[in-house]
């Protein structure tokens, strides 16, 4: 009897997971299916849930544009590349600068340590819209608009505090006894950082790196304002431009959307453990 009850319970719980899975997957599956359709099929009423004549043409238009393809897919590949360049640079800088600062803040007592910590935490809360005007004015007078560097710098405003905060939480999990022991053995502060703390905190570094990459990849507002030409336009901006002309090339937009979503989704799936650890590093006392 008990086993029957337990089975029933497990089964009904399983049933509950089904609507959740549908909720999660339906939009994405629909997007993928649409990206493999032709325009004509996409406009069909009722909708062809699975395209009857699937085609990779939309993707081909983006990577191997022919003259017939409109200009937006042609330039989309460049926008993807820009996103990769910018997100990677931001991640690299934040990891390096951020981990150095984070270690100092959590392990080295010095005057103003507490103040700086609170200050950094506070700046994480500042919305982008508050910074956009001055950054825009300065960037334009320094002739930085439309160059990737302006986005890299602007993204520091939210990525660096985030990285510091995450790394700080991870550094705190390194047992202090190890550091003390190294101290006693005559190791310098920087030596401890390099030889003891960093190797242990590698998962934390990976988490922070993934998180920062996703944050930078996702960003839209600054990219919209600061970049208009191909020199620096990022994938989200390119997608938004697709939408502006969607009646002309919706299938292209779908393909572009999938491509723009692939890097973060794949990274998210592979490094899931790390990312979730990063998310919870402030939430769960550990």
């Amino acid at each position: 009897m008990i086993r029957y009850g337990k089975f029933l319970r497990r089964f009904s719980l399983f049933l509950l997971t089904l609507p959740v899975l549908v909720f999660i997957f339906f939009p994405v599956v629909w997007l993928s299916s649409a990206s493999l359709s032709t325009q004509v099929e996409l406009f069909a009423i009722p909708p062809h849930w699975i395209p009857q004549h699937p085609t990779f043409q939309n993707y081909l238009d983006i990577f191997f544009p022919s003259q017939a393809a409109s200009s937006v897919p042609r330039t989309f590949a460049i926008a993807l590349l820009n996103s990769i360049k910018i997100a990677s640079s931001v991640t690299l800088i934040c990891i390096i600068l951020g981990s150095l600062a984070a270690y100092a803040l959590v392990r080295i007592p010095f005057r103003l340590n507490r103040t700086i910590q609170i200050g950094i935490l506070g700046t994480r809360m500042i919305p982008e819209v508050s910074l956009i005007l001055p950054l825009f004015i300065v960037a334009s007078s320094l002739q930085l608009i439309n160059r990737p560097i302006v986005l890299i710098i602007a993204y520091m405003s939210f990525a660096l505090p985030y990285a510091i905060w995450m790394m700080a939480a991870f550094f705190q999990t390194v047992p202090i006894e190890l550091e003390d022991a190294a101290r006693i053995d005559g190791c310098t502060r920087l030596g401890i950082l390099r030889r003891i703390v960093m190797p242990i905190a590698v998962p934390g570094l990976i988490s922070t790196a993934m998180f920062t990459f996703l944050l930078a990849w996702d960003e839209f507002f600054y990219a919209l304002i600061f970049t208009s030409t191909l020199a620096a336009k990022t994938a989200p901006v390119a997608i938004a431009e697709f939408v502006g002309r969607y009646a002309v090339n919706i299938t292209g937009m779908m393909a572009g959307g999938i491509l723009a979503a692939l890097p973060p989704v794949i990274l998210g799936l592979i490094f899931q453990r790390y990312i979730v650890a990063g998310m919870t590093s402030g939430a769960v006392k550990g």
């Binding site: 406009f43 003259q67 017939a68 409109s70 200009s71 937006v72 360049k85 990677s88 640079s89 690299l92 800088i93 390096i96 600068l97 150095l100 825009f136 004015i137 960037a139 334009s140 007078s141 002739q143 608009i145 439309n146 160059r147 990737p148 560097i149 890299i152 310098t188 920087l190 304002i225 600061f226 208009s228 030409t229 191909l230 020199a231 620096a232 938004a240 431009e241 502006g244 002309r245 969607y246 009646a247 002309v248």
Partner: protein, 433 residues
Amino acid sequence: MRKFTKVTMLVVTIVLFAGLVGCGPSAPAGPVTIHVLTMDQAGLKPAEIDQIAREFEASNPDIKVVMEYLGYDYIHDKITTGMAAKPPAYDAVMIDVIWPDEFIKAGYMLDVTDRVTPEMKAGMFPASWNGVTRNGKIYGMPWLMDVKYFMYNKDILQKAGIAEPPKTWEELVDQAKTIKEQGLVEFPIIWSWNQKEGVVCDFTVLLFGNGGAFLDASGKPVFNDEKGVQVLTWMKQTLDDGLSNPSSVASDENAVRDNFMAGNSAFAVNWLFQFSDSNDATKSQIVGQAAFAPMPVFAAGAAAGVQGSSVDGSSSFAIMATTPYPDQTWKFLSYLASNEVQIKYSAEMLPVWQDNFKGDALTNLEGATPTNPMTVPAFMAQFPYANERPTVSYYNEASAALQLAIQEALTGVKPPKQALDDAAAKWVELAGQ
């Protein structure tokens, strides 16, 4: 101090790396590159403009042209942000007929009065120069003269037993009812009434067709008088009666074209590009069925002497004031707007050179492409009645208020009179600032 140098070296490396990645391509030595922004909507298609650019480069090897295309609704804000860069993000941009006042005030447009040759001045339609001239100074090169046309589907009207397209909007309603009752299409009329400039264009057509206007002689808004309210009420009524497609409230001109091309509507008001697209066998289901008719007016407007009404949607190209390459840019714009080029691509866009519409040249023009025999007479008939939207520097925000008001009335949020009154109040406020 070893640690110090190590950390410093690390930081320096990062900065160098960021600089390398970040600084992007530097200006290439050799040919000058100019950037041009234009819309991917009315006018020539991007593929055609690209071709023109390549032809220009072939005969001007020291100039490289990089074209960029955006949906119309995004261009205005892109200009604002692009102009903040030095050098500006674009050397030339497409300027809609409603923007010069705002942009000249902001200092974006280059004075090109001295570059315009007498041939250009005399050759192009005076109306097209009016769009870019303020206080006697010329700020751009005319390019596209476009108005909204009234297009209908011949086949659907024939099946419904309607002999002639409507001459008044009231007739249109009757014809639409007939078509709907016979079950030929569910929603016979489609409009671009989404909350963008497109709805103000349609409103302009209807408002002037009722004998109304935007501003009076002293510049005060009068679009909220009884004529304007009648127009807005009429618009809402057609939606309520199921004659205008409910998705009109979310449609822009591209969506109107798509709907018309799919054979889902009998009547569609749109720019010229809808006609050529409707005859494109790769996209359209109604090849050969689209036809022009003069834009209807309201019975009250006809009684008041209004013979025709449309809206001027012309655009020109302006050189950005801070460009480092004004001469090269002007050279390209002159080529783009030249008579030969315009005639060659006249299926999408009729030339702005007026001699084409007289005598032999007219016959020539009409024969240039398969659709010209229909588009040229339509243009000549409709263009004289093109109405302007207000040429004020605060137009962008004013139009936004009007767009909002019309949306609110059409979706039943506010009664038409109140919505228009609120918009008019906003216009007064903006004028005072």
